[in-house]
């Protein structure tokens, strides 16, 4: 049991977890219940080494604690690192415990840390999964900022399940004030990337642009028709600034985001969601990804044109279509997507089709598009 494991499992601050461990040790020792507990400590401090002062951070066993402490000239911190019943031969079990628990909590690994970074806001990316970091305010600020962000980012505006993040929202409430700082940072970061992405012709095309080249005008028209009415609704609705960024960005965005692509990216995002219900989607994601890769390849042959008008097609609606049919539909999403119910079904259909016939996905979607507009 390491302090990190305890902190994640109990949902407490890391410092509290460390204190809890210490308290437990003390109490057990006082009770003298006979169960031998082996404790490892973390010692940190300054040490004179090779002529300069070196800051050393070490995990030591209890028996070595005093010896290590005496070696350090100044001790910066001492705390309990872990407790175990058996004597540890080496530190790999400690590492493994921590590795496992962090892996299962990757998206929130800084939740219980003592340091909060205001700038660590996930930005929206076309093909990168987004770890949603909610922040209530600064949404309005984000919209104009995001609109000014250069094209080339077609974030899949999938909405992460909101229930899951209410807790995080509470935690990040204090960050609201810091958000404006994030926006320029985000905008700056993305503006920096944008030249890379928008210069797709010269530079090696990013995945984003590969997508762009695949998607036909038919798909784009469909998106245009459907997403324009949706977009204002979404913008009002969006709680998370990241999503809000996504939407206005998606309008100037490389229209490349085809529904299929969006479903794929939506799925990638879904993959990140921790809710169990999404696990079914996750398997879809895995399937969807190679499928979509194949899809991509097919499309290169079929569609050569269209890079210019892609810019204006908003990307948002389709991911929502995908998220909506997914098992625990977020209520907010549902209300929002009510008018898009047809698209929901189309999205569902699309998804189903993806599972079965990956190679024909494109054609199916075309039909779906035409069915909708027609």
């Amino acid at each position: 049991v390491t302090y990190k494991w305890l902190s994640y499992t109990l949902g407490v601050h890391v410092n509290q977890a460390k204190q809890m461990l210490y308290d437990y040790v003390e109490r057990k020792r006082k009770e003298n219940s006979g169960a031998q507990l082996h404790v490892t400590y973390l010692v940190a401090g300054n040490l004179l080494q090779n002529g300069h002062v070196c800051h050393k951070v070490a995990v030591v066993r209890e028996d070595k604690l005093e010896a290590t402490k005496s070696k350090l000239s100044t001790i910066a911190s001492v705390h309990v690192y872990s407790i175990q019943k058996a004597l540890l031969k080496d530190s790999s079990p400690l590492y493994n415990t921590d590795y496992d628990i962090v892996k299962t909590n990757l998206q929130h690994c800084s939740k219980f840390s003592a340091i909060r970074c205001a700038a660590a806001v996930p930005r929206t990316r076309p093909d990168a999964p987004r770890a949603p970091v909610p922040a209530q305010s600064a949404q309005a600020q984000r919209d104009p900022d995001a609109a000014s962000v250069l094209n080339g980012h077609g974030p899949p505006a999938a909405k992460p399940p909101q229930q899951q993040h209410k807790g995080i929202m509470g935690m990040f409430a204090a960050k609201a004030a810091a958000k404006p700082q994030n926006t320029p940072k985000d905008a700056k970061a993305e503006a920096k990337e944008a030249p890379g992405v928008s210069a797709a012709s010269s530079k090696p095309p990013t995945k984003n642009n590969i997508m762009d080249n695949f998607f036909g005008k038919a798909a784009m028209n469909k998106l245009k028709a459907n997403s324009v009415p949706e977009q204002p609704k979404e913008e009002k609705e969006a709680v998370k600034p990241s999503v809000a960024v996504a939407e206005p960005e998606s309008s100037p965005n490389t229209a490349a985001e085809k529904p299929g692509k969006k479903t794929e990216s939506a799925r990638i995002q879904l993959r990140d969601k921790k809710s169990k219900t999404k696990r079914a989607d996750r398997s879809d994601d895995e399937e969807g990804d190679p499928g979509s890769v194949k899809k991509k390849r097919k499309r290169i042959k079929q569609l050569e044109s269209d890079s210019s008008d892609e810019e204006d097609v908003p990307v948002s609606p389709t991911p929502e279509e995908e998220t909506a049919p997914s098992p625990p539909p977020v209520p907010a999403l549902k209300t929002e997507l009510e008018p898009a119910s047809t698209e929901v079904s189309a999205g569902g259909r699309k998804r189903k089709r993806k599972r079965v016939l990956k190679s024909k996905m494109f054609i199916d979607e075309e039909e779906g598009c035409m069915g909708k507009t027609g």
């Binding site: 001492v78 770890a131 530079k203």
Partner: protein, 461 residues
């Protein structure tokens, strides 16, 4: 330095649980600008010859060298091109150095494999007493001898030599000089303690996993999970983490697919895939808490030639979702809070190490600064892009912090220049070998190593 104020509450966590423990906001980055545009290659075309890079290098550094030569040897010295040399006249010549080394691996020797001759194995150092120095300028070349240290210099350095031509066609050198430190940049450093963590050589994907716990400890310290409250508040002053290369270990470089038969390697994955996944997870933990700059290194999946382009963000899907991750080029230059950082992942320094008698990485680092060029050996023995318009490796401004990654051990030195330049030279050690990273304090330009250790099977400290 880093945690002296932490010592007060060092034992604070050896207590029963207290009330809601404090969280410290990370010190925000007030000024960051990436200045490594010259190192970013747009369209790359390799159809050009490498001679152009030497030509632009010489043209770019000639004025500075002439100025320096005049200031050193007097204003009335004659600066001549090699074609204008007159025998016996004391003059100054500016040119590119070429060191003819017998042991230098040459492509022609590789062809000797066809003749069943044993190819030369890689050596740690290729210098030999019989090496010769030749000075070249735009049109001619001349052999150098005299007061010049043949062993120490490497090919590609631009320097000015002062001497005279002998009758036998060689140039007798009395003195030589380099461009010395470039002009200083104004100092706008922060007023309070701000730290930048420099680490390199994480070496993920290696067969042995000893450094993994240390890597995790490093991440924990930076993200504030480790340490008592005082230490955590100090860690909140770390404004940035720069990972200078070699994130993957050398083991991931195995190219079995080339040597083995196809049926044996069909289902195997490259070792770098797992390593990159591990890297992504570690980076995600870091990125949620601190801005990270990721520089590629020798064993990382990016191009081999310098300047190495940033790693592609598709390789790091989890971490690149965060705006705090910056994927940057190999020679990396940036302004952090008014302090100019310039550094490489160490390939240039280790290349000079192989071809020069200088043994100390810090000494080599200082020498490249004095020679005014990040990597003089670049097209010759180190892969480089054939630049033809300008050489981006020429140092035009003096950075405040100049670092190189993947050094064998940690060293740092504060160099004072004649024109008031102050440079902190840091050799960042290889983390997988030494478990040491560096903390640079931007406020007063000092550097402190930070070591991590855990207990092993033999229970020694």
């Amino acid at each position: 330095m880093f945690s002296e104020q932490a010592a007060l509450t060092a034992q604070g966590l050896l207590a029963p649980p207290s009330a809601e423990p404090p969280t410290f906001p990370r010190v925000p980055v007030s000024g960051y600008s990436d200045c490594s545009q010259p190192f970013q290659l747009g369209e790359r075309s390799f159809s050009r010859q490498y001679a152009h890079i030497y030509a632009v290098r010489l043209a770019g550094m000639r004025p500075g060298l002439e100025r320096r030569a005049r200031s050193q040897w007097g204003n009335d010295i004659v600066v001549r091109k090699l074609s204008e040399l007159q025998a016996g006249e004391m003059c100054c010549v500016v040119g590119t150095l070429f060191k003819a080394m017998q042991l230098q691996p040459s492509i022609l020797q590789e062809i000797s494999e066809e003749h069943n001759l044993v190819p030369q194995p890689p050596l740690p150092k290729y210098i030999q007493p019989s090496d010769e120095l030749i000075l070249e300028d735009e049109l001619q070349r001349i052999k150098l001898e005299g007061a010049i240290d043949v062993q120490r210099l490497v090919t590609g350095t631009i320097l000015a030599v002062y001497g005279s031509e002998q009758d036998d066609g060689r140039f007798l050198v009395e003195d030589h000089c380099f461009t010395d430190l470039p002009p200083p940049l104004p100092w706008n450093g922060p007023s309070s303690d701000r730290f930048v963590l420099l680490a390199s050589g994480l070496g993920l994907g290696s067969v042995s996993g000893e450094a993994l716990l240390s890597t995790q400890l490093l991440v924990d310290v930076v993200t504030g999970q480790l340490g008592a409250e005082g230490e955590q508040s100090c860690a909140a002053h770390i404004t940035r983490v720069i990972l200078a290369g070699n994130l993957l270990s050398q083991n991931t470089q195995s190219r079995d697919t080339i040597n083995k038969a196809k049926y044996l390697t069909k289902k195997t994955q490259a070792a770098s895939v797992e390593a990159v996944k591990m890297l992504d997870e570690i980076l995600l933990q870091l990125c949620t808490s601190v801005p990270v700059d990721l520089m590629p290194g020798e064993f990382d999946p990016t191009n081999y030639t310098l300047p190495q382009q940033p790693l592609h963000r598709c390789m790091l899907p989890l971490a690149s979702a965060y705006a705090t991750l910056h994927l940057v080029t190999n020679p990396y230059q940036a302004n952090l809070d008014g302090v100019r950082f310039l550094g490489t992942s160490g390939q240039n320094i280790s290349d000079i190490f192989k071809y020069s008698s200088m043994d100390d990485y810090l000494e080599i680092l200082e020498w490249t600064l004095l020679a005014g060029h990040i990597s003089p050996t670049a097209p010759d023995t180190l892969g480089c892009y054939p630049f033809y318009k300008s050489d981006p490796f020429i140092l035009t401004e003096c950075p405040h912090v100049y670092f190189c990654g993947n050094a064998p051990r940690f060293q740092s030195k504060l160099l004072q220049g004649k024109e008031g330049q102050q440079v902190l030279l840091v050799t960042v050690p290889d983390f997988s070998a030494t478990q040491t990273a560096c903390l640079v304090n931007l406020c007063n330009l000092t550097c402190q190593p930070i070591t991590f250790s855990s207990f092993g099977a033999d229970s020694e400290d």
